[in-house]
């Protein structure tokens, strides 16, 4: 790379507020981005990668995170010394940013066209007609269908991938020298992710933009990065060309991160022969049905799903958002009532049991949810959360507490966690608590609904091991819902692929991965980021 870098960060230090677990959010960080180059900052949560990005944009929360040292040169100009007015002028024109959650990053009450146009209104003197032409133009270049019509649409009327495209359009409409992308594809489905990554790469090549790309996903890094910066606890651990860092990491931390990425190639597993723990026959869930005055509009969220999970077996349901995988899980746990079909648990069909008669079966099926930050009641101690269920089913408080203590030990936590509150634990620890809570009910079936999706890779690997371990120890039937094929490849004995409410393929994991039969399964596998790289081969 030649010439002056677009972005040059020199020993940047950003101070954390007092009382945090370390002094600085970011310490002595130096990195640079050149024209026509994609630099990935990769690290786990708390590594300081987002703080670095927000510092460049001048978007740090005022008075809480304060840059205390170093320089951030944007085309030679130190943005740390820029006045607020100057910073506003730079944003949108010389540097722009896109964010993780396309669902919330757009203003829900303003039209899409208006939100792209806003950048032009702020920074240019163009008249309304010229602006509209320019907006339509950029909307077409990010490959949005029918830009003229979408101009007046609201964010809730378009898909997540389209929203992220709109964010990209607004960011690039004035051709900034630097684009900062903060986990822009993390919230998207794999196939959409592949499209957005391709789009970013394509636009960046054509416009010669320098891109600072923040991610936690080494698959994405392998897809898109020219150079890689690895961060840990606010410091840069290692940086260099992508190929070198990924193939020949010099630092143990980098090596650990890369090794923790689950492989897409499942190990062959023997078929499980245990008794069937739960089974569905023709399970369907239909939403809608129309009111008195409205036209009838129905959504078949799950359509004629037949599955059986044996004791000791993990059945994975994979699919993208809207595929119906979570609907199936919720029906089986009877968190929602299915529209038709049967759910056989032991000898009973629980599909249509009224709540009162359903109660005895409730404890047999337990769920671990996706977001460990929201699935535990923040006002109750961990102990209270764990013993509530068993006590509802007649266990004495003393026995319930005994059981909770031994389960906490089993999931790798100290029993004194009982007295503490959820906010005192990390995401991975909370997920362990959620697993202990589910196990306290002594279930036959454990449903893990995207249970490791919100976790860092290193933590993810540990929780997956834990799930595998308890499955064997308690001879559980596990229903594992995930959008992540890598995770599914590692833990599932059998896989079911769902698309738009319908099961399109199912079979033993290694068969589905190595010889997919349905085009949709193939599309999913092809879209998995970093596929060509072969992560986890060595492991």
């Amino acid at each position: 790379m030649q010439g002056e870098p677009v972005l040059d960060i020199r020993s940047l230090t950003v101070r954390l507020p007092g009382g945090a677990d370390r002094m600085n959010a970011v310490e002595e960080v130096s990195l640079s981005v050149h024209r026509n180059e994609i630099v990935c900052i990769v690290g786990e949560s708390g590594s300081g990668k987002s703080v670095t990005a927000f510092t460049v944009m001048g978007l740090l929360p005022k008075g809480i995170l304060v840059p205390t040292g170093g320089e951030v040169l944007l085309e030679g100009e130190d943005v740390l010394k820029a006045t607020p007015q100057r910073l506003r002028d730079l944003r949108g024109t010389r540097m722009a940013m896109i964010f993780q959650e396309p669902m919330t990053a757009l203003n829900p009450v303003l039209t899409i066209g208006d939100q792209v146009d806003e950048v032009l209104r702020i920074h240019t003197q163009l008249g309304p007609r010229e602006r509209k032409a320019k907006v339509i133009d950029i909307m077409a270049s990010i490959r949005l269908p029918d830009p003229e019509r979408l101009f007046d649409a609201y964010p809730h009327q378009i898909s997540g991938g389209q929203r992220q495209r709109i964010m990209i359009a607004a960011a690039l409409v004035l051709d900034p020298a630097l684009l900062i992308a903060d986990e822009p594809t993390t919230a998207l489905d794999v196939t959409t992710q592949a499209q957005i990554l391709a789009l970013i790469k394509d636009l960046q090549r054509r416009r010669g933009t320098g891109v600072l790309f923040i991610t936690h996903d080494f698959g994405v890094v392998a897809e898109i990065a020219d150079r890689v910066v690895v961060m840990q606890n606010g410091r840069v651990v290692e940086q260099g060309p992508a190929e070198a860092v990924l193939r020949r990491p010099t630092q143990p931390y980098t090596r650990m991160l890369i090794e923790a990425v689950p492989s897409l190639e499942p190990k062959p597993r023997a078929a499980i022969a245990g008794p069937v723990a739960v089974e569905t026959v023709g399970l369907s869930k239909i939403y809608g049905g129309g009111g008195l005055f409205k036209k009838e509009r129905t959504v078949r969220a799950a359509d004629n799903v037949n599955l059986a999970v044996r004791r000791g077996e993990t059945l994975g349901i994979v699919g993208e958002s809207g595929s119906g995988k979570t609907t199936v899980a919720r029906c089986i746990a009877r968190l929602i009532a299915p529209s038709s079909g049967a759910i056989r648990l032991k000898d009973a069909d629980i599909a249509s049991l009224p709540e009162r008669r359903l109660r005895p079966y409730r404890r047999r099926i337990q769920v671990v949810f996706q977001d460990p930050y929201r699935s535990l009641n923040p006002r109750r101690t961990v102990g209270a959360s764990i013993i509530e269920g068993p006590m509802n089913f007649g266990l004495s408080e003393r026995d319930a507490l005994d059981r909770a203590r031994s389960l906490l030990r089993l999931v790798g936590l100290s029993p004194d966690a009982l007295e503490r509150y959820p906010h005192q634990f990390s995401g991975g620890q909370r997920q362990r608590i959620a697993i202990a809570r589910a196990l306290a009910m002594e279930p036959d079936v454990l449903i893990a609904d995207e249970a490791v999706s919100a976790l860092d890779v290193s933590v993810q690997a540990q929780v997956l091991d834990l799930l595998d371990d308890i499955k064997r120890r308690f001879d559980l039937a596990v229903l594992f819902i995930t959008h992540d094929l890598r995770v599914a490849a590692q833990i599932c004995d059998r896989i079911m692929v769902m698309e738009k409410g319908i099961v399109v393929e199912d079979g033993p994991t290694h068969r589905v991965f190595n010889a997919p039969e349905h085009p949709y399964t193939r599309a999913l596998l092809d879209a998995a980021p970093g596929r060509g790289f072969g992560f986890g081969k060595a492991a």
């Binding site: 978007l59 944003r91 949108g92 964010f99 919330t104 757009l106 829900p108 009450v109 960011a171």
Partner: protein
């Protein structure tokens, strides 16, 4: 949308019917005899009985109710026992002052409270925020009549800027109309300013933490536009709800304020009619108030759809 509005309007009919029944029954269950009040202290029982017969009060209650209801359906609200006019005339004559007072009050309240609330949210935790919130607590706690007499003392008696009391119809000139209306409106507005400012602050504060606010900053947008263009419209639904409730509650506030400032509006009419046990007038006024209440609620619900494209009926 149109079918929704129609449905809502049809739904007001049973609501109004229930109100009618309740008002009618409650008035007749409260002590006090209109005939005795009309006849005066020196009347004998025969005279009172005569008046009672003339007013139809000697009929069984349900007969009285159906006669009244039948008349209303024909558009006849009856004749006031006390004022010797038809109730319709009476209300129409009192409508302008009350309507002016209520509208002017809510305009002042919104114009002051919304910017104050937004400012307090933007300056959260600073002395500006604390002053706004302190004022808000005061506005809640001090009764309307105390504020009213305090303002009269200061602006009418000490500074002599405005008249102490009275009302001038709009037809006699806008200047005089506003001049006399301003003090009562401000008096009445205080509590709504407090209420709306608080709600605006809370609602905007929540929205300011949203991702799209960060997006707007990343585009280089200036703070004032972030606050009013991006934040306020998203924060508007709860604020509009409170404003709607405020207008409905204003009716109660108007009664006191009109008494303090001797404004010949519906509030005064209500007080006078209650004191005189003037059944037809009280019933009509309360029916009118509840109709306004229902319509305001409908208007608020419709306003939601303008503010938030995700809300559709």
């Amino acid at each position: 949308m149109l079918s929704y509005i129609l449905r809502r309007l049809v739904a007001t009919v049973p609501v109004m019917l229930i109100v009618a029944v309740l008002v009618f029954l409650m008035l007749r269950l409260t002590p006090g005899d209109p005939a005795a009040i009309i006849a005066g202290d020196n009347a004998n029982t025969e005279q009172v009985a005569l008046i009672r017969t003339r007013l139809g009060l000697d009929q069984p209650i349900f007969v009285q109710f159906f006669i009244w209801l039948g008349n209303i359906l024909r558009g006849d609200f009856g004749e006031s026992f006390f004022f010797k006019k038809t109730v319709a005339e009476l209300i129409l004559g009192r409508l302008e002052p009350t309507l002016s007072l209520a509208l002017f009050t809510i305009v002042i309240a919104v114009a002051v409270a919304v910017p104050l609330g937004v400012l307090a949210a933007y300056k959260q935790g600073t002395w500006i925020d604390r002053i706004v919130m302190g004022f808000s607590v005061m506005g809640f706690s001090v009764p309307v009549f105390v504020i009213g007499y305090g303002l009269i003392y200061l602006f009418a008696i000490k500074l002599n800027w405005v008249p102490v009391q009275g009302y001038q119809p709009l037809a006699q000139g806008f200047g005089g109309f506003i001049h006399r209306l301003i003090l009562p409106s401000v008096t009445l507005a205080v509590i709504y300013i407090a209420l709306i400012a608080r709600m605006t602050r809370a609602s905007v504060l929540e929205v300011l933490g949203e991702d799209y606010i960060r997006t707007a900053r990343a585009k280089g947008q200036v703070e004032i536009k972030i606050l009013f263009r991006h934040a306020l419209k998203n924060a508007a639904v709860p604020i509009v709800t409170v404003i709607g409730l405020g207008i409905a509650l204003l009716i109660g506030g108007v009664v006191v304020t009109e008494s303090v400032y001797t404004i010949p509006g519906l509030g005064r009419l209500t007080v006078d009619a209650v004191l005189a046990r003037d059944y037809p007038t009280i019933q009509a006024v309360i029916l009118l108030f509840s109709l306004v209440y229902v319509l305001i609620n409908l208007a608020v619900d419709l306003l939601y759809t303008l503010l938030d494209p995700r809300i559709r009926y």
